[in-house]
Amino acid sequence: MECLKEVIVSPVSATYWGIPGYVIFWVLFAVAFGLFAQRFYLLYRLMRLGKQENRFDRISERIKAMLVEVVPQWCTLKTVTRKDLAGLAHALLFWSFSLFFISYIIFIGLAGGFGLSPLIERTPFETVYFSILDIAALLVTLILIVAAIRRYVIRPPRLEPTAEAGIILVMVFSLMALHVIGVGFDHASRGVHTSWPPLGAALAGFLNQTGLSQTTLEATSRGVWWLHYLVILSFMVYIPHSKHLHILASLVNAFFKPLGQKVVLEPIPLEALEAPEGEATFGASKILDFTWKDLLDLYACAECGRCHIHCPAQLTGKTLSPREVIHHLKEHLLETGPKLLAPQAEPSSESQVDMPAKTMIGDVVTEEEIWACTTCGACQEVCPVNIEHIRKIIDLRRNLVLSQSKMPESAQVMLRNMQQRGHPWAGVQSMRLRGDWTSGLELKILAEGDNAHTLFWVGCTGALVERNVNATLSMTRVLKAAGVEFGVLGESETCCGDPARRAGYEFQFQMMAEQNIEIFKGFNIKEILTACPHCYNTIKHEYPKYGGDFKVVHYTELIADLIRQGKLKLPNELNSRLTYHDPCYLGRYNSVYHEPRRILQAIPNAKLEEMERSRDTGFCCGGGGGLMWIEEQPGTTKISQMRIEDVLKTGVETVVTACPYCLQMFEDAIEHKGVKESLKARDLVEIVDEAMKSS
């Protein structure tokens, strides 16, 4: 036996049909890598066809963000809930497979391909590493079984039982099995008798007992080795052809993800503005109107469907599914790709390229889908691979509104109101006139020549709609009680521009932003206090691009702070069970989750119950993205009603929110559900006002 060990050589150093194993090894590798690189290069060239966008700033911060997210698998672990443990499974799979990937480099690449086996094989390092891989292989196999059962038997709505998924499951399983079988045959053929690595050693023990001849064992061992190698190479080739492209693309996408602000909308690029009239297209009507980052997003998608099951439009029966939008855009890019690359080969003018028969808006993504989005951000929050769905939807809307003048009538009415009247509320029965709410109050209404440090920016809804004016009045009482000095704009306040921007009417937004910034600067305003989370998000994150850098505070932040400093006392008992609904633009968009809850906890006997969907998984009220005014697309129910169902499940008497849109949507849904007697919708500031009053 001892002498045999010396004779046995690595499968690569043997000769097959007169061809040296090394040659076969490297030829196979070259073919596989060539196929991989060819596909990869095609995808890269397609991505580069997208519009320019700078995501190369703050490189070190980006590297750190990427590593922090990917290595500890925070990207998928963040999505783990008691009901959905798939994120945990992914993390285990990722770590296990990373070990396998490293083993391929060391034990197959270096040991086999580079002939370093004497240094690597049969060392304690190998035994330890392979023992760890045994555990990993068991774990991966277990996960694969669960994954297969989930996909093909349980079939949760977020997963499509595609053939692609099946191929990958089989391939990964083969890799696990071939590793263990390989070790088993290797040990058996060499007559090694150890108990480590456990699976391989056990198999070797079994093989030794079968009485297979030494030649058979050796030949099979070599066969298994080459098969293993072939499956690894096929896996590499298959990756960029399947949704498993995400293995590579999501890593890159994590590097290029938006830093800081979560949902970023880019202004319309200057070159579009300078194009001669009639030739300019705005937003995206063709796949290449998106930026390269948008196209990278498409590659990064693993079709995990988390966005699909968190999207309020999808859950209420609309046709929109963020997963399908991304998937269809990806298919469209790959379908039209070769044609799109063709003009580079021949320098013919672009107009001669025959356009793909499919139109992106209509055939790939329907108008119905485009107008169903509330921009609530649930899809982006839950997406493990940092896909930015919302700005794609907005780009599609921009094209419909600015270039094609195609939009639902309700959207047109709203946008006309924005353009002509400076707010979206015209024609509403209970509407007030701007500035009416200030009558009888002793307020500092800013007029020409005035200066103010802090501006209380009321927002259109809080100034114009009867129900919301009540919250605005509470707000002024609270501010006065806490001794906060502030000015208001009264009748000269206009809209911040949010509904225009989310509906794709970018120029109107831009004009409003510029005009408002000029007004703020005119009064020397340093700090802006907002009641509406939409104004808050817009002024805080979107105005700086137009030269408006102000400190922006939402009232929940201010009030929580005033309570903490002891400047605001809330002595009155509430004695009521209530739940807090996180407005999307305050919670998900700006991570203000604690302040509103801290305020409620400061009120004696306010019994706060949490809804199942809250904080970062909070469910939209249905009013964002302009949908406060744009008619909801047909579905099985209204988003606001589904949210009120969530509220009703907690059995509380009051649903509290901190957004005028949510308040409006809830009043409407409560009325519609006929639960007016048992459930009230209140703005948080109204509750604070009551708790503060000295009766």
């Binding site: 503005l273 509104v401 509407m431 006139l433 500035g435 009417y505």
Partner: protein
């Protein structure tokens, strides 16, 4: 083809009725604070009609508007929709003119602009609802007039106009130039989009005074007005709510239909 559109700035008709105030003594409307005036509803449709003709036949659109204050805003709105040029007609002598006086001023301005194939007006204004300026203006300009159009086509140097009637429509042909007043049935005006919004916001709108258009002071003299406002009041609003019921939804619908027939 060159189209001139006459537009008017009016008090926003979308303000809540309760906020609508008048001065019965001065026989004037008191504009509520913080509500910007807007382009009159039918005039905006006249701009839309002009834009549709321009979309098809190319050419030029000029808008004019007579009125006090920031009337340039409605000109800018029309430019944002697709008009090329605009002029404001503003002079203390133009204030409180009746339909004849208004048509006279518009006529003078149109003659100054000259070289037009079509003049468009709204069928009537959203504030005073007189519906006279269009016809009088055609008379002053000495051209044909078609009122209440819901569709305008330019065919072989002629205008083919669909005109709304009480129970349908008729199709008329008019020579160029003619004056056409446009009705609401032409459809929703376009949303000013793209670059035009920016172009319009930065555009300087020239202001023409009485002497710029050669308006005779005698024609603007209120003593020569043909119309006198003798009283102005806000109609009393009464809301009655009644639930129409029935044993089945079908029966309820029948009952509702019967009620509506009685009201009509």
């Amino acid at each position: 083809m060159h189209t001139i559109v006459c537009i008017k700035q009016v008090l926003d008709p979308e303000i809540p009725p309760a906020k609508f105030k008048i001065d019965p003594e001065g026989k004037k409307v008191i504009p509520p604070p913080g509500v910007p005036p807007v382009i009159s509803v039918f005039d905006e449709r006249a701009v839309e009609a002009a834009c549709r003709l321009k979309d098809k036949h190319k050419g030029k659109i000029t808008v004019i508007s007579m009125g006090p204050g920031k009337v340039a805003d409605v000109i800018k709105h029309a430019i944002a929709m697709g008009a090329d040029d605009g002029f404001v007609l503003q002079d203390p002598a133009f204030e409180n003119l009746d339909s004849f006086g208004t048509a006279y001023v518009l006529g003078k301005a149109i003659q100054k602009i000259g070289g037009y194939d079509l003049v468009l007006c709204g069928r009537y204004s959203a504030d005073w609802n007189n519906g006279q300026v269009g016809s009088i203006l055609a008379e002053i300009l000495g051209i044909s007039v078609v009122t209440s159009a819901c569709d305008i086509e330019a065919v072989d140097k002629k205008l083919r106009v669909k005109r709304i009637l009480k129970d349908g429509y008729e199709v008329l042909e008019a020579p160029m130039p003619s004056l056409i007043t446009v009705s609401g049935e032409i459809g929703l005006p376009r949303l000013p989009a793209g670059m035009r919004l920016m172009i319009a916001s930065k555009k300087q709108i020239p202001v023409w005074k009485a002497q710029d258009i050669g308006a005779e002071p005698s024609a603007l003299d209120k003593a020569n007005a043909h119309l006198e406002v003798t009283g102005l009041s806000v109609p009393a609003r009464k809301t009655e709510c009644e639930f129409v019921t029935g044993n089945t939804p079908g029966e309820a619908a029948d009952n509702l239909a019967l009620k509506l027939v009685k009201l009509m």
